[in-house]
Every structure is written in C-alpha cells, then in structure tokens.
C-alpha cells in the first residue's frame, strides 16, 4: 500500500514537473505563439476569416491563422483551394496576412480560397523599395529609418542606423504617441517592419 502510494506520488511529481515547471519558464512571446491565449472559435456561419498565418504544414495540408482578436483558426487546404495574390501555398510565409474562404465538412474547415493581402498604404505616404532605400541611406543624411516591430525583434536584428518605435507602443499612447516622433519633424521618415504586416 505504502509502496503504491509512493509510486503514485513520484508519477504525480513528474507530471507536476513536466507541466508546472515548464509553465513557469518565462517564454518569449513571439507572434507565432500570440494565439496561445486563444478563445474557442466556432466559425459555423462565417464563410471567410482574415488573419495572420501562424503556421503552415505542407505535409498535413493545414494552415493555422491568428485572427485579430488573437483567437486561433485552422483549415485544411486541398488542390482545389483557389489561390489569390500568391503563386503557391509553398511561397506563403508565417506572419503574412491572408483571407481564407472555407466550408465546414464533417466538423473540419476546408479552405476553398486563400488570398494573400498586400498592404495598402495610408494617404500621404509612399512606398520605397529595397534598392532605393539602400542608396538613400548612403546619400541622404536627413533620412531616419524607424523600425515598427516589437522591440525584441529590433534587438535581434535591424537595419543599421534605424531606431525602434514599436507600433504597439504608439498606438497604446493614443495622440500622445506624437511625442515619440515630434523631435524628428525635420527628418525624412521611413517606416518598416517584418514585411506586409
């Protein structure tokens, strides 16, 4: 009896170790995992969803999205899935925004269409291409490159000479966010992030 109890205790300890200690490890909160606090999504009546790709498995023919409310959406794609704005599923990347049209078959979401959303620029702004930017960086001293990604991404790697002003941070500050940029009024600003987000 005592032995059994001891054995159970040990197993319980292992389980607690595996599931509690790991939980206590402060994880980095990459975008890929942002949907972790996901709510249950029941898209029974909706016919399409818009979100960022969090994962694609070619082998399981499954695409996972993180939606704007950080919930999680899963769909299978088939050879019949219509692609828009992208050549093949293989050329899609994690974090790219897409619209997935789907139907529910036997409780599973089957993607009928998949569209890669290309960023639309707000009025008063203009796009700059890689080559142009590389050249301007050398010649134009007024240029100030601003990294809009979370600061951890900036710390890992960024365009040399750029400064970090995370989009999330200016949004949080509301109109006070203007203060973060005010001192650069006379500079030519260039904003960038992780591409098409």
């Amino acid at each position: 009896m005592k032995k059994t109890f001891l054995k159970l205790g040990l197993v319980a300890l292992l389980v607690t170790n595996v599931f509690m200690v790991s939980e206590a490890v402060p994880g980095f909160s990459g975008v890929v995992f942002a949907a972790d606090a996901a709510k249950v999504v029941k898209p029974a009546d909706a016919q399409s969803v818009k979100g960022k790709i969090s994962n694609i498995s070619q082998k399981a023919k499954t695409i996972a999205l993180t939606l704007s409310d950080s919930s999680f959406f899963l769909a299978k794609f088939t050879d019949e899935t219509k692609l828009k704005g992208v050549e093949s599923i293989k050329s899609l990347n994690v974090e790219e925004p897409v619209i997935v049209g789907y139907s529910v078959v036997n409780g599973e979401n089957i993607a009928t269409s998949l569209e890669l959303i290309h960023a639309t620029l707000p009025a008063g702004t203009k796009e700059i291409k890689t080559k142009e930017l590389a050249e301007l960086l050398k010649s134009n001293k007024d240029l100030l490159v601003i990294d809009s990604r979370p600061s951890i991404k900036y710390d890992e790697s960024h365009i040399p000479g750029s400064i970090s002003v995370p989009y999330a941070q200016i949004v949080k500050m509301g109109d006070d966010g203007a203060k973060l940029l005010e001192k650069y009024k006379d500079r030519q600003l260039v904003f960038y992030c992780g591409g098409s987000t």
Binding site: L14, G27, F28, S57, A64, P122, D155, I159, A178
Partner: protein, 251 residues
C-alpha cells in the same frame, strides 16, 4: 505595423513619410547589412562567433564570443550548436569574411544567422570593453551548447523524454503513418495531424497530452487544436529522428 505607423505620422504633421513595405526579410535577402542591439549581443540568448585569427582575438574580443577563425569554419560543423534554429551572430574585422561565413552557415542548415558588421566598433562605441587573451573555444567533443527558451505550450527535451515513460502522459506522434512506421518514440501513439480532429474520441481527457512531429510545426498545430478542445497539452518544438529499433535523437 509600418503602414499604420506612417499613417499616424501623417496625422501628426510629418511630411511624406515613406513605407518600406517589403521590410526586413527583403532587406536581408538582398544581402544588405543588419545589426543587433548591443545589449542583446551582451545578454541575448545567442551564439556569438569571432571569425578573426587567434592572434587578433588575443588582442581583444567581445567577451562572450567563441573563437572560430574563418578558415576553420567549414570544418567546425560538429563544434557548432546542434540546434539549427540557434541564432548565430558572426563578426570579424573583414566584411567579406562575415558575408562568406553567413553563406557557409546557411549551407550547413542554420536558419538564424546574423552577420554583425562593424561589431567591434559598435561594441567599444557603446562604452563596452573588449577582453584580452583567449576567447571561448568549441571542439567536436565540447560543442557550443545553445538551449532554446521555451515558448507557451512548449515542453523541454528533458521533460519530453521523461514523459515517454509516464503512464499519466500520452505522447501523440502527429506525423504521417509512413513516417511513424519508419521509426517512432517508444510508447508514443500515432495520430497524424490531418486525422486528429476526426479521431478526437481516441484521445483520453484524463491524461496529459504531449504532441510531437519531426520539427515542431505540426506538433504546434496539434497542440492548439487539442488546447481548444479542452485538453491539458504541450508540444515538442524540436527536431527529432527515431529509428525502428526504438532509439532516438532530439535536438
């Protein structure tokens, strides 16, 4: 993120802000230089490699750097971190060496390589001292040890290995049946990711679940799917290989 930021800049009176829509991935792809933050080089969970000659390294190097002279890099495969996801930052006083080292490491399969141009100037410029004498070295017998920090839902390799032996934990192999047949973890159960939803009734609610695949990709999707269904679940975000004899390797 960047178009919206630029939109706000317009609203706040900045003239004609530009948006580099293609962003950092395109910047890197065209071979343009990138740099890390100095504090991240000092404290981040990275592997820093000094490519200069041993003599140069002796005169002064960034304290946590490993010394692998450029000429030896190609033969140093076994001394490099086992995990191909390890972020490797290389620096030298010669830009050409940094670029060539990036290519070599990419060919070895590393996915997260940063060529840190102007590293020594950036380091001293930030008021940080260089260290004189020999730097850290790595050999085939004592390779560079890099451990990934666990993200939400991830189980460590050590805990994963333990869970294979526990009756209270069910390890699900989310790979295809063919992959499973060619070798799997002893004690694991095959439920391919594409069948997981349909076979949900086979997964007991009273056990802890751990999902794995070959790399972590399908494992993560399975983890999320089961989490939504109310399971206590984790996944292995690592690469692994199993033989038919039951032996395995995880890195």
């Amino acid at each position: 993120m960047s178009p919206n930021s630029a939109g706000l800049a317009v609203k706040w009176g900045h003239k004609n802000p530009l948006v580099y829509v293609e962003g950092l991935p395109a910047w890197k792809k065209s071979g343009n230089p990138i740099s890390p933050s100095i504090d991240y080089v000092a404290n981040g969970n990275i592997v820093l490699v000094d490519l200069r000659s041993t003599a140069e390294v002796q005169k002064g190097h960034i304290p946590r750097a490993y010394s692998i002279p450029f000429g030896e890099l190609e033969d140093a495969e076994d001394a490099l971190p086992k995990s191909l996801g390890a972020p490797i930052y290389v620096y030298s006083d010669k830009d050409a060496e940094v670029n060539a080292a990036r290519k070599i490491l990419a060919e070895l399969g590393y996915k997260n390589i940063v060529g840190f141009h102007g590293a020594l100037d950036a380091w001293t410029g930030a008021g940080k001292p260089l260290q004189k004498g020999p730097a850290l070295t790595a050999t085939d017998e004592t390779p560079i040890n890099w451990q990934k920090k666990l993200g939400p839902g991830e189980i460590s390799i050590t805990d994963f290995t333990k869970s294979l032996k526990s009756d209270l934990i069910l390890v699900i192999d989310a790979r295809t049946p063919v992959e499973f047949e060619s070798g799997h973890f002893p004690g694991s159960v095959s439920i391919p990711l594409e069948q997981m939803k349909a076979r949900i009734n086979e997964i007991p609610k009273d056990k802890f679940i751990v999902v794995h695949c070959a790399t972590g990709g399908r494992g993560e999707i399975g983890y999320r799917m089961l989490k939504e269904e109310g399971y206590s679940v984790k996944f292995l975000n690592a690469e692994c290989e199993c033989s038919t004899t039951g032996s395995f390797e995880i890195w």
